[in-house]
């Protein structure tokens, strides 16, 4: 404490230790000064100070939430999003080029979005690293000694006692210690501080944001997802040749796939059968047997459901879809089987109206001896409607109560040898002609077991039945546990940071000119919490066990009117000169 300046000045300037005493957080002080040392380094330093200032942190937080909005309104690129994205682009042709330029279809990986959070994290690092050092310093040092003028503190109480000052101070020391304060004895006073967990929590919270970021980044760099559609009864092994699509990343390519496989023994779907929600799915279960490594003979039984993926060897297998695959047999004019088997159709609505193409690559030659290929395009309807007059072919219920196949036929060149990868669910009809029945397009509506005599002598198609299929995504994602630990630490840190009060309490007992002891207690906390006042009051009451207050006429006055006249100066008549 210094006695050099006593002129009436703003309190903080007058009391050089005031700033120190009142610093209850390692949060940086605000200053918006213009660069001091002009020149490159000066500007750099200024820029760094701005970036790590709370104002800019606030601005960046605000920008981050703003920047996240467009990605929620415009469909984003990503696995299994292609159809949605394509549909949106088709419907909003005018804005697509602009949106593409602004990367609005991939907001969360765009440079501008990344720039915001990278700046935020740089700011965060620039903020919390120095704060951590500072806090270590605080932990090493003693609580700051009592400021000269305790009446200036936000909460304050005083009384007179006949007990010796030293005894009061000693009692206060013991009392504060008992209440879990860190206590330091000063000259004729006691300084105490509590609630360091607030700062610990706050630092932990901000550090854990880095853990989250690292977890997320690692997952982004080292994960991969493969999709696969599997028919009932078929198997799948997790290798390049078997997957339908693969989305990899820098450190997880198509050759890094975990080695395992499984067989889909059966798929069960249940639906609501009555009421207004008829047809709503209630249960999907895939029964599988799986193996790990190369040995496909050691099988283990398991089930895969939505919300219950199967974890095998660093990968998780998720059930993401299901559907039907009609089984047909195609015979040529000579009655030879040219195609037989199930073909997966893709559901187009909630009632599993499914669409697909059956491609007969090896049909052989037509009546003229020319090489030809056949294709059948149409719908599989698990519960076909009575008639399609208004609606076109639709299914009324997702379960197969009346499974029908509605198709038409094409002949020509499927162009499967052209080298361009083909979508198995779509027909490239550039070199195909649709078969006709006279003037009308030839089509058939078949029930299980029925056969369609194809026009122009192409032979027959029999609809033998159907199978179910399920689609899975096989996902390898490391870094989850880092992110999870980060998340849990963030919550714990927040709890400390928001619920713990860091506060200081000072007690000073000095002998007054009248020979009695003046006991002053004062407290300071970061946020103006009512609890600080209550804690101080409790402490003072307890301290009065050891330093009972002597009744004074002035005290009765305050008792009658506690709301008035209890100004600090009145309560502490002999306190060192007050500056207010």
């Amino acid at each position: 404490m210094s006695d050099t300046k006593t002129s009436p000045q703003p309190a903080d300037a007058a009391d050089p230790d005031a700033a120190d005493v009142e610093r209850l957080s390692t949060a940086p002080a605000e200053d918006a000064d213009v660069p001091v040392g002009i020149g490159f380094v000066g500007w750099l330093r200024w820029f760094w100070r701005q970036l790590t200032s709370m104002r800019v942190a606030l601005l960046l937080l605000f920008l981050l939430s703003l920047a996240a909005i467009p990605g929620s309104l415009v469909p984003q690129e990503g696995p299994n999003q292609e159809t949605k994205l394509a549909a949106w682009k088709a419907a909003h042709k005018g804005v697509v080029p602009l949106f593409e330029k602004l990367q609005l279809f991939d907001v969360y990986r765009s440079p501008w979005f990344s720039a915001i959070y990278i700046l935020l994290f740089i700011s965060l690092a620039g903020c919390i690293v120095p704060r951590t050092w500072q806090f270590v310093g605080v932990l090493r040092a003693q609580p700051p000694a009592a400021p000269r003028n305790l009446t200036r503190m936000p909460v304050y109480a005083a009384w007179r006692s006949d007990v010796e000052p030293d005894a009061v101070n000693a009692a206060a020391h013991a009392l504060l210690k008992k209440r879990g304060f860190r206590v330091a004895a000063g000259k004729g006073s006691v300084a105490a501080e509590k609630g360091y967990l607030r700062e610990v929590g706050n630092l932990l919270f901000h550090f854990s944001l880095f853990a989250l970021l690292i977890g997320v980044a690692w997952a982004g760099l080292a994960s991969g997802t493969a999709n696969k559609l599997v028919l009932e009864g078929q198997g799948y092994s997790n290798t390049t040749t078997q997957i339908d699509d693969f989305y990899g990343s820098q450190f997880y390519g198509i050759n890094d796939l975990d080695s395992f496989g499984f067989k889909l023994d059966g798929f069960t779907a249940k639906y609501q059968e009555s009421g207004p929600q008829t047809g709503t799915a209630r249960q999907f279960t895939a029964n599988v047997r799986y193996w790990v490594g190369d040995d496909a003979t050691k099988l283990k039984k398991s089930t895969i459901e939505v919300n219950h993926p199967l974890e095998i060897d660093g990968s998780k297998v998720f059930l993401i879809g299901h559907g039907y695959a009609p089984v047909v047999t195609v015979k040529n004019a000579k009655g030879e089987i040219v195609y037989r088997g199930p073909t997966a159709f893709l559901p187009t609505d909630a009632n599993m109206t499914s669409r697909g193409v059956i491609k007969v690559n090896d049909y052989g030659t037509d009546a003229n001896g020319d090489k030809v290929q056949l294709a059948f395009q149409g719908y599989f309807l698990p519960t076909a409607a009575e008639n399609f007059d208004r609606t076109g072919p639709i299914s009324l219920f997702p379960a197969p109560a009346d499974p029908q196949l509605v198709i038409n036929a094409y002949a020509g060149d499927l162009r499967t040898d052209s080298g361009v990868p083909q979508n198995v669910y779509q027909l490239d009809d550039k070199a195909m002609t649709q078969l006709k029945d006279g003037d009308k397009i030839a089509k058939a509506r078949l029930k299980v077991g029925q056969t369609w005599e194809l026009p122009d002598g192409y032979g027959t198609l029999s609809y033998d039945g159907y199978q179910q299929w399920a689609s899975f995504s096989v996902s390898h994602r490391p870094g989850n546990s880092i992110a999870l630990v980060g998340g849990i630490a963030a919550i714990l840190g927040l709890i400390g940071s928001l619920f713990v009060q860091r506060r200081r309490i000072w007690v000073r007992a000095v002998a007054g000119p009248d020979g009695r002891t003046l006991v002053e207690v004062a407290g300071l906390s970061r946020s103006e919490s009512a609890r600080t006042a209550e804690e101080l009051a409790e402490l003072a009451v307890e301290l009065q066990d050891d330093a009972p207050a002597v009744d004074e006429p002035s005290e009765t006055d305050t008792e009658d009117a506690p709301a008035a006249a209890d100004s600090p100066a009145a309560a502490a008549p002999t306190a060192p000169e007050t500056k207010e």
Binding site: L58, A281, Q283, T285, N307, F318, I320, N480, I491, L498
Partner: protein, 375 residues
């Protein structure tokens, strides 16, 4: 997994209970309106009831004189005024607190006495309103529970159920605040009105029969993630009302301080002081923020189990994140940037708007992976 049958009897009871709750809430609303109206006639007391009891207790203890320890703590307030907190304890009874209260002096606006003012009649109406609100809460809770029991699952699987649960948490937050002896009777009217609106929309526009869940919601995370989300919603709403009221009251106090004419002073004077409102909204928001953080993390864990990726920027996730960042900005502003008062309050309003959009807007206008049967 075996699918339980829908117990239609219980589902019907649930529907009847929600209508009963709405009726009782409506009565509570009328009682509150009575309270506010009669309270105006009773004149506005300068001191709150709490302060009055304090004065009594203090003079009592002055009589008892011997063996009483008493401390008056001076508390400097933000606005420069001071208040005192007095604590009295009987010497022999250890640290037993006999009274603890606050008084105020000079300048700083004091908390109003609440909607009833000093009118006995209004106070009676207010007490009836509180009782009715609690009764409504019980019926409301009964409706949520029977709905859950009718299908043996967590009763928040679609938007109707989620709305009803959210409204329940709103009333719940209010009743919890009342139970912790906070001076929040004034909060009753806005809460009940909002709850009636939400329930009205829920039963008329969002209603869906009690049914089993779609497979995507078959997870115990539904119980964890969605229940904490609704609790957060209810509490954020209470903080929102406090913030809005703060802004109004703060303008009012400033106009008074500046000597400008004010309107509705009869009503305004019965509300708590702006600084009290400000603190109330901050406390609630700060209390809920860690829970909201937990909700998001729980959601991410669920997403990992359901979709294979804990974060996919699905619209619901995105808006939860936006809401989270907005509340973080608010807390930051208060904690460090010295943005107290009005500026921070606007941030809090913005954050709540994000929350609301996340609940209603995202479900209605944006299609994402979050599935709610019925809407």
């Amino acid at each position: 997994m075996l699918l339980a049958q829908v117990n239609t009897q219980l589902a019907d009871i649930s529907n009847n209970l929600i209508y009963s709750a709405m009726t009782v809430y409506t009565l509570a609303m009328f009682a509150q309106m009575f309270e506010w109206t009669f309270g105006a006639k009773g004149g506005v007391a300068v001191r709150s009831r709490q302060q009055a009891t304090l004065a009594e207790a203090v003079s009592d203890s002055a009589d008892a004189a011997k063996g009483v320890r008493k401390v008056s703590v001076t508390v400097a307030s933000q606005s420069g005024g001071t208040t005192t907190l007095t604590r009295t304890a009987l010497a022999d009874a250890g640290a037993t607190t006999v009274t603890s209260g606050r008084g105020d002096d000079d300048g700083a606006p004091a908390d109003g006495p609440g909607p009833a003012g000093t009118s006995e009649k209004a106070d009676m109406a207010g007490r009836i309103a509180v009782s009715l609100t609690v009764l409504g809460l019980l019926l409301h809770a009964g409706s949520v529970i029977t709905r859950g029991l009718s299908v043996m699952r967590w009763p928040w699987g679609n938007m109707y159920e989620f709305s009803v649960a959210f409204a329940l948490m709103m009333v719940g937050s209010y009743v919890v605040l009342l139970a912790t002896k906070k001076n929040v009777r004034w909060l009753g009217l806005p809460v009940v009105i909002a709850v009636l609106l939400i329930l009205g929309v829920a039963v008329s526009m969002l209603y869906t029969d009690s049914e089993q869940l779609v497979p995507a919601l078959h997870s115990y995370w539904l119980g964890i993630h969605v229940s904490t989300a609704t609790i957060c919603g209810g509490a954020f709403f209470a903080a929102f009302v406090a913030t809005g009221t703060y802004l109004i009251k703060d303008r009012y106090e400033h106009r008074i301080a500046a000597g400008l004419t004010v309107r509705a002073s009869n009503l305004m004077d019965r509300l708590p002081a702006s600084s009290t409102l400000d603190k109330l909204s901050y406390r609630i928001n700060a209390l809920v923020f860690p829970l909201w953080t937990f909700t998001i993390i729980a959601g991410a864990i669920w997403a990992e189990a359901a979709w294979g990726k804990y974060w996919e920027w699905d619209p619901k996730e995105t808006w939860s994140f936006i809401t989270w960042v907005a509340y973080a900005a608010y807390l930051h502003a208060r904690a460090t940037a010295g943005w107290r008062g009005r500026k921070a309050a606007y941030l809090a309003l913005l954050a709540f708007a994000c929350w609301l959009f996340n609940f209603y807007g995202v479900n209605i206008f944006i299609t994402g992976k979050h599935s709610y049967a019925g809407v």
